[in-house]
Amino acid sequence: MSYHRALVLATTLASAVAFGIAAPAAETYTVDPVHSWVVYRVKHMDVASSFGLFKDVSGSFTVDEAAPENSTFAFSVKVDSIDSANPKRDEHLKSPDFFNAKQFPTISFKSTKVVKSPNGGYDVVGVLSMHGVEKPAAIKIAEIPRIKGPLGGHVAGFDTELKIKRSDFGMGSSVPGIGDEVTLMMGIEGKAK
């Protein structure tokens, strides 16, 4: 190895250590609606769970591993895209009895604070807006894998879930026949811009 090559290698290694090669710079991802899922689970008659999903998911997230506090998460679903595998039930869910989809067409989550979790991953605190009501909500993201996309750029994503009481959002109809506690299970995938 020539002296010149050794100098370049040493400089590169020193820079990598100084700037953290394991922590890529903050990168913003646009939610990929084709590979993102927001599924709900709610108890029916307190005997078994009922599931459904919101097919129209959008949003973006920024991940800054070096400075997690600069990370942001914002995503939303269109209530009208709800699919419970039963069209009549979907109509009922969209009515004023439940989501009131025409009056409150979106459900959104926007982070307000992101911190690195002591166990790894991220603790995200934000605001959940649903049915015209805004409430603080917190989610845990265990990890955000990031890979090179097949068509270039990066792809990243995460799984998380959020438990809410629908009555807190003015959607207390038919409680307790249909459970008050709803679990939102999310698998969000994004592509770097």
Binding site: H44, K88, R89, E91, P96, D97, N100, K102
Partner: protein
């Protein structure tokens, strides 16, 4: 509380409150007792069904209690001192405009273009004002139970249509409005009073048209049912038909009944009942 108990109390509570207020009003010989009774009964029913709405309300239908109370002011104008026709109609028109604007606001914000908004608002305000004027003219000639009976029948039909069209909530609100008209029908049968009947009209029409708009725009009340229920109060115009008044009155009742049955029939055919 079971669903049956909730439904029973949702009917009993507004009827009881309306009856109590009307009884006190009759005892005090107040012609506005009908309007206040219907409004108070509805507010009690709405609060029972929906709980205390946030102020200002976030859902369009949660404006209905406020609008019902606003409708009572027309009855107060009618009964306090020399009636000012202009003032009465202006307050009534303001109530109509407020009802249409507040009930359609989410459609204006989320869905309608400027042109569509202008078309809907004009149509709804003119339509609701015409219905009010028509029913008011009939009420001034029929101080008895005819007008409350027909409006009560149509409001009950609307409740059934709402229930068949994916919204138990709106059905219960319409049902609360319908049962408050029962004691009014009894009071106007026992003590006919044109001022009482005319005074209560803005309250009933705000609740009737308001829940109908909510059902059509935010639930699944079909165009057919909505159109029939919107036009059905005009059946009261038929009271002027026939040489003898009784012929017209009978015809109005039959046509209103036919309208109510048709609207419910269409709702049954196009029903999308809740199936959770």
């Amino acid at each position: 509380m079971s669903l049956v108990e909730q439904l029973a109390l949702g009917v009993f509570l507004p009827a009881a409150v309306a009856s109590l207020v009307m009884a006190v009003g009759i005892w005090r010989r107040s012609a506005w007792a009908g309007a206040l009774g219907v409004a108070a009964g509805y507010v009690a029913g709405h609060l029972f069904v929906q709980g205390m709405p946030r102020q200002p309300p976030i859902a369009a239908e949660d404006w209905l209690p406020t609008l019902a109370v606003l409708g009572v002011t027309v009855a107060f104008i009618d009964t306090s001192g020399p009636a000012s026709k202009f003032g009465r109609w202006m307050v009534g028109l303001a109530t109509v405009v407020a009802t249409v604007l507040l009930l359609t606001n989410p459609m204006i914000v989320h869905f309608w273009s400027t042109g569509v908004t202008a078309g809907w608002l004009t149509g709804l305000i003119v339509g609701m004002s015409m219905i009010w004027a028509m029913v008011d003219a009939t009420a001034s000639r029929n101080p008895g139970p005819l007008v409350p009976l027909i409006l009560g029948l149509l409001t009950a039909a609307l409740a059934v249509v709402q229930g068949l069209s994916s919204s138990i909530l709106l059905a219960r609100l319409s049902g609360a409005a319908a049962v408050t008209i029962v004691p009014l029908t009894f009071v106007t049968w026992r003590w006919p009073n044109a001022r009482m009947v005319r005074g209560v009209l803005p309250v009933i029409l705000v609740l009737y048209c308001g829940t109908l708009m909510a059902g059509f725009f935010y639930s699944n009340v079909s165009r057919g049912s909505a159109l029939i229920l919107a036009l059905a109060p005009a059946s009261l115009v038929l009271t002027r038909v026939g040489r003898q008044r009784r012929v017209g009155v009978g015809l109005a009742v039959v046509v209103a009944w036919a309208g109510a049955v048709s609207a419910v029939g269409i709702a049954v055919v196009t029903a999308t009942p809740g199936e959770f």
